[in-house]
């Protein structure tokens, strides 16, 4: 993975000094609350319901074991013994003391981590496929391009005060989209043109929130070296013409929709014409330099599916079940990709203890070249495990409570922190997640249901991605009471779609019943082998609606 040089380290160190100074001025009363707000936001600090929340950037989800240990130490020494993996692949701490945040950031800077632009109306952490670099299907490794974007976006002088937050995602797999890229302000699909040259299909104007929209194509093919000048052009158009009068209409998706994507593209192209051959154009030397950080680790030459592995699969059904759900095919024979689902019963989705973090660091060192990844589904991946050692890994993970065999199943849900922590939320989301975890804990049943994305957000800001859940649950406020609106048919993959609302919202204590009714309709309607989303797309909303809202008996 990328390693800082003196320049990168100096920039992050100078940031820590700057923020310490800003914090001191704030604590001395020299910066009023209102003006401190954007400063702390740009350092990842929200003021939550009970305490500040610190969001630490995990650039495109990559972590080394040293960084995992530093995060574990922060959880142990400055928080209440746990941390939270967010849907932007970042780490969040829910209970740090405000005045200790600069100290935490200084500590993290020592392991090349920061909280720069993890919130506020600026360019946020770039995300990508959690299997980057280890799957055969990808065109190229997307991470060097993510790092290009990270450096360009860090303290960009022109774009620190955009109309609204701005999220970029990169994908390099032709037929899959694990990074939900079409839901981003800008998405970059790495492609080859007919001449075989590497470049990008650029999309803009996607987003969730109040107005969920999938992004549209702005340019079919952008040459490899033109990435940054093109992003400059897009965001310069947005910075000048995006709405600033209403925060709910300020995302780039609203601008693209208002202008129409053709007009928006024309404006971007006109702007880009001035920039494309300037100094901002990427150089081959820089691309080569960044690619050199993402070369393959020292893989052994191994045979696929060694006997000891096949034996373990045959003899231990619990292990086999975990492999079936949580292990993916690696591009190298004899290796595998393993995911720890952070979705255990009794803990909030994405939560992880300091002890588990230390242990994952050790497992990464022992089994996976010292690296790990976070995912936007709030899980953690070890990407380079020898198949021969999977059984040992599983046993260790199981002892740590990290081997729940439910990846992609109903209980592998995405959930925001909701009204238990977040000051913006209309309703709590975690108790709904917990009730569902408890009600649907039969592994046979979960495996029989197969892949279902269930996503829960505590408010319209949609941090829990409810619009793109096959089953989406949105907390709403009805005259001071917490209710939940259900949507069906959302999807986040290559065939992404936004869910449709089932009908009037439900009280919290009905949510388990409603989900059960929806699942029963699916089970009754499905044709052999059909997933939930496939069945929904075939039969439509009607049977679900009928079951969820039975007509009152007539006299």
């Amino acid at each position: 993975m990328y390693v800082y040089d003196d320049y990168d380290q100096r920039i992050i160190n100078e940031r820590v000094t700057q923020f310490q100074d800003q914090m001191n001025r704030y604590l001395d009363g020299k910066i009023p609350e209102e003006e401190f707000l954007p400063l702390r936001l740009q350092n990842g600090i929200y003021i939550q319901r009970y305490a500040p929340m610190l969001r630490v950037a995990v650039p495109y989800g990559m972590l080394n074991s040293q960084q995992l240990r530093a995060l574990a130490e922060v959880a142990r020494d400055y928080d209440r013994g746990y941390a939270h993996v967010s849907t932007r692949q970042n780490f969040q701490f829910n209970w740090p003391k405000l005045e200790e945040c600069p100290e935490i950031l200084a500590k993290l800077a020592q392991v090349q981590m920061h909280a720069v632009q993890t919130s506020g109306n600026c360019i946020r952490n770039t995300t990508t496929d959690e299997y980057a670099g280890v799957v055969a299907e990808e065109l190229v490794d997307p991470r060097p391009y993510c790092e290009v974007i990270r450096q360009w976006s860090t303290f960009h002088p022109e774009f620190a005060f955009l109309p609204r937050k701005f999220k970029i995602a990169v994908n390099a797999v032709p037929d899959a989209d694990r990074a939900a890229t079409r839901m981003h302000d800008v998405s970059v699909q790495i492609v080859r043109n007919e001449a075989g040259e590497l470049g990008y299909r650029v999309f803009a104007g996607g987003g969730l929130g109040r107005t969920p929209i999938l992004s549209s194509v702005v340019r079919e093919f952008l040459p490899e070296k033109d990435l940054l000048t093109y992003l400059d052009a897009i965001i310069r158009v947005y910075n000048q013409f995006g709405r600033r009068d209403n925060k709910y209409k300020a995302r780039i998706k609203i601008l693209v929709k208002a202008l129409g994507v053709e007009r928006f593209s024309e404006m971007v192209e006109a702007e880009w014409a001035h920039l494309k051959d300037g100094e901002g154009k990427l150089t081959q030397a820089e691309l080569d330099r960044l690619k050199s950080f993402f070369t393959e680790p020292e893989y052994k030459t191994l045979a696929a599916n060694p006997t000891s592995y096949s034996d373990a699969l045959a003899n231990d059904t619990a292990f086999a079940r975990w492999v079936e759900r949580n292990v993916r095919t690696h591009k190298k024979a004899g290796y595998a990709i393993a995911t720890f689902a952070l979705k255990q019963k009794g803990t909030a989705p994405g939560d992880i203890t300091d002890r588990q973090l230390f242990a994952i660091a050790d497992l990464a060192d022992k089994y996976s070249f010292g690296e790990a990844r976070t995912t936007h589904q709030q899980n953690i991946v070890l990407a380079d495990i020898e198949q021969e050692k999977l059984y040992d890994l599983w046993k260790e993970a199981k002892a740590l409570g990290l081997a729940t065999p439910t990846l992609g199943l109903l209980t592998d849900m995405i959930c925001c922190p909701g009204g238990d922590f977040c000051a913006l939320a209309n309703a709590k989301s975690l108790p709904v997640a917990e009730a569902l975890q408890n009600a649907f804990d039969d592994l046979d049943y979960l495996h029989d249901l197969g892949e279902i994305d269930l996503n829960i957000s505590g408010c319209m800001n949609a941090c829990g991605h409810h619009h793109i859940g096959n089953i989406g649950i949105l907390g709403v406020d009805k005259k001071g009471e917490e209710f939940y609106q259900v949507s069906l048919g959302g999807a986040s993959g290559e065939d992404a779609s936004v869910g449709k609302i089932l009908g009037p919202s439900f009280a919290r204590d009905r949510m388990v019943d409603i989900v059960r009714i929806i699942l029963d309709v699916y089970v009754a309607e499905r044709i052999e082998g059909e997933s939930f989303i496939e069945t929904f797309r075939r039969v439509g909303m009607a049977p679900f609606k009928t079951a969820a809202y039975p007509a009152p008996a007539t006299a």
Binding site: Q18, E35, P157, A160, T283
Partner: protein
């Protein structure tokens, strides 16, 4: 006379922003862009003469994008860019465009809700003057230009991004 920051030092301000209906004198005066833009015939000729004499400045307000002024900017001795709120970042793009695209080389001044923690970004986008909000400490502010020593991106002062400067 109020104090501003000019070329990273505290300086006296000798410009005055005048109301749209004010009669102009021979002093250094700044008019709103809208007045310039709507002036015709002899009014426009008078403004051009004053501009060419070096005593007319112009102010871009919220929503006035740099392309509206474009190459016309070159004759002005001063352009103000107003920041109605510190969180309104349109002025950063306006500044870069005036400097990098439209060849403006006079005094480019940030006015309005201009606070200490924005100065470094403003300088990089081409502002060489800042009229800071009244409550700001100018002595402290002039130190704000040293926050970062080697930024990643190219900017108005050095068009080369770090990847073209990295040793």
């Amino acid at each position: 006379m109020t104090q501003i920051i000019l070329d990273k030092q505290i300086a006296q301000d000798d410009w005055v922003l005048v109301a749209d209906d004010a009669t102009l004198s021979g002093n250094k005066e700044v008019i709103n862009f809208s007045r310039w833009n709507s002036a015709v015939d002899t009014d426009k000729a008078d403004l051009i003469a004053k501009r060419d004499a070096g005593t007319l400045g112009i102010q871009l307000n919220a929503g006035d994008t740099a392309d509206l002024l474009a190459q016309d900017s070159q004759g002005f001795a001063l352009i103000n860019v107003d920041f109605p709120k510190f969180a309104d970042g349109r002025g950063y793009s306006a500044a870069r465009l005036l400097r990098e695209r439209y060849g403006f080389s006079g005094q480019l001044r940030a006015v309005g809700d201009v606070l200490f923690d924005q100065l470094f970004f403003m300088m990089r986008c081409g502002f060489n003057a800042m009229a800071m909000r009244e409550d700001q400490d100018l002595e402290l502010a002039v130190k704000g230009f040293e926050t970062f020593s080697a930024p990643y991106q190219g900017d108005v002062n050095d068009a080369r991004p770090l990847f073209r400067r990295r040793g």
